[in-house]
């Protein structure tokens, strides 16, 4: 009995495990190996120390740290509050809103470069009153100095929130209705139901949002790259740590350094993931 269950489990998960090995672990393992190789010969920690000595790294790490501090809380709070508010009263309005919230995330690549170039152009943007409020007179201006981090935060939230709202809403929607109805019969207020019943029940999803968002925020790449397309030279080509890793791999043809820096970023993401998983007991199977 036990044996057949275990066999069945492997039959179901086998194909995925195979792909995991071929397209995940093998490349990751090879990357780890490359990070210790320089010009075809084993070179110890040479690539790693070269990366950590790179003058561009400290600036990039500082930028990414600041970005995470601003972006992650705003994103998570906005996603949670919008998903819970929408779920408090499901219906056509709520589903239209979810669609609208998702819209900015659908525009990618060069078209996103155009879109955001104009969104941050005081004369051409529908947000021009807001831009005026911050004394922004041109895109060049918006992307210079301390406004850049704000611009990136706004863009990052706009692009990423919609997808997570859908995930959380889906999780809330799948909650058993009897529990929620019981709470309402008890006379619990909407706020109390939300805070004490709904939120704990979707905590694993919130954990997942945190892990993924932390990783994607600490590996921010698309937003600064996209803005650079429209206004070249304005943002450092290695503004973020991930951009630096890409620069190693693409412009400099140095895969060893690219691998070393990527694995360092992975380590940071894993530490965060580990903390979240421990705190939320995400891996438990015995919930219900």
């Amino acid at each position: 009995m036990k044996r057949s269950r275990s066999l069945a489990a492997w039959a179901l998960i086998g194909p995925y495990a195979l792909f995991l090995a071929v397209f995940g672990l093998a490349p990751a393992g090879y990357a780890l190996w490359t990070s210790f190789v320089h010009d075809g010969a084993f070179s110890g920690v040479r690539n790693w120390s070269a990366v950590f000595d790179d003058y561009r790294l400290s600036d990039a790490a500082w930028h990414v740290g600041t970005y995470l501090l601003l972006w992650l809380p705003v994103l998570v709070l906005l996603v949670l509050s919008l998903a819970l508010t929408l779920h408090a009263r499901p219906g056509r309005f709520s589903s239209t809103m979810r669609f609208v919230y998702y819209l900015p995330g659908a525009v990618t690549g060069s078209a996103a470069a155009l879109l955001w170039l104009f969104m941050f152009s005081p004369d051409a943007s529908p947000f021009s009153p807001l831009l005026d409020l911050f004394d922004i007179t041109s895109v060049t201006d918006a992307l210079s100095g301390s406004t850049l981090i704000g611009i990136l935060t706004v863009m990052g939230v706009a692009v990423h929130a919609g997808g997570w709202i859908v995930v959380l809403y889906g999780a809330l929607n799948a909650l058993p209705r009897d529990v929620l109805e019981a709470a309402q019969v008890d006379g619990a207020s909407t706020w109390r139901t939300t805070w004490h019943i709904k939120l704990p029940m979707v905590r694993t999803y919130v954990a997942f949002v945190l892990i993924s968002s932390f990783a994607s925020g600490s590996q921010v790449f698309v937003e600064p790259t996209v803005l650079t397309t429209g206004a070249p030279g304005q943002i450092s080509p290695t503004w973020s740590v991930n951009q630096l890793a890409y620069a190693y791999a693409t412009q400099e043809g140095d895969f060893g350094k690219a691998a070393a820096l990527s694995l360092a970023m992975l380590a940071v993401g894993l530490v965060a993931a580990w903390i979240v998983i421990k705190r939320t007991r995400m891996y438990a199977t015995d919930d219900r």
Partner: protein, 436 residues
Amino acid sequence: MNRWGPGFPTHAALVLCGALLLGGCGSGAGGGDKDELLVWVDNTRTAAAQQYEKEHPDQKIRIVTIPPDAGYVPTKISLANRSKRGWPDLVFLANPAEAATLAADRFAYAAPLEGLVPGKTLDGFAPGSLDTCTFDGKVYCLRNDIAPTVLWYDAKLMEKYHYRAPATWQDYQKLGLKAAAEHPGTIVGAVNGKYGAGTYFGSSGCPTRDTLSLTKVRIDTAQATCTRVAEMLQPLAEKKAVTTVVPTDPAFAKLGSQNKILMLPGPAWFGDFMFKPAFKVPDGRIAAAPMPTWDGEDRSYSGQVGGGAFLISKHAGKRAKAAAAMATWLTTDTALQAKQPTYPAFTAAAAEWGKAKAKDPYYAANPVPVLTKAAAGLRPGFGAIRFEAEWQNSFNQTVGAATGGGKSLTDALSDWQKKLTQAAETNNYSVDQTAG
């Protein structure tokens, strides 16, 4: 209920079959044919390559249109270097600075053209235009088009304000200050990225990317050729007569539609591709003057902002001759080059190109004589570097920031020096600060 039958042990098999089927669809990596010339060009050069293919039916050619993005060619080449196949025999570089990457030891891709392209052909290119392609005395690429800077100006505004296009930088500065005082909001230049650094500092001969070899670059922003630019721009910056807004910014286009661009030193392509489509300055207004001259120099020199080049692969083997023949035709054929959008690097072709441009009703005066002179007066010492993006950004962070923030530009030069030195050293250059 159970659609896959009891147990369906086929799940894994199905997935794998699917994967294998997909693999089966593929035709394998291209370039299997030993005689087939693999040619990578951007979209603008695709039609020309196809024409060549048609005219040479005996030569098998495979043409691939590549994105012009910085980094695309180096990425593909370094991957091909690892898999030992897939190199294009002939490739167009929309960012000729990448020649410095592709010729360097790590990539070892670009072939020196010695023995492939006769010296007589090389002599036909605009003087100094092949400097970008030359390392340690060897030429590694053929320039397709060049982007010498000229002093663009609005002839109608000049007339209306009773001004005249300046011949020296001293007059340029004076006129800029006068315009800013008499007609607030008017600008006479842009100090941003490659547009600022290439136009002002490049044309002055300020050594910020003077490549002495593939591993040695001269950077010295303390030179008089640098400080004279900073001093000239300083009052213009304080009076906002020059802007730090990048010319591709919609806010810059607004300056054009509001008749605020009196002068704009910039590359040859600004006329057709900036003033006309982006800044929307109407027909009959824009004209070109030579770049102003510096005290103590008796001629005008131009900087460079852009242009393209063709490289031939070291791995082309017996196809190298055919690749060289095609590259030569693409860059030097006068009939072909006469039709291309930007200024041809090959002098004879540029003359043909100029015949059509001379009649262009867009310009207030025929810009061709000025462009021709500018092409013949490229300031030496503007080489292809492996830190092009940092070169642009570091300029904005230092000189650009000082221009916008009302600080000393001369002081900013030493910050720029620091950043350039760091960028160069990280990219395997030794920096020479004294030679020259």
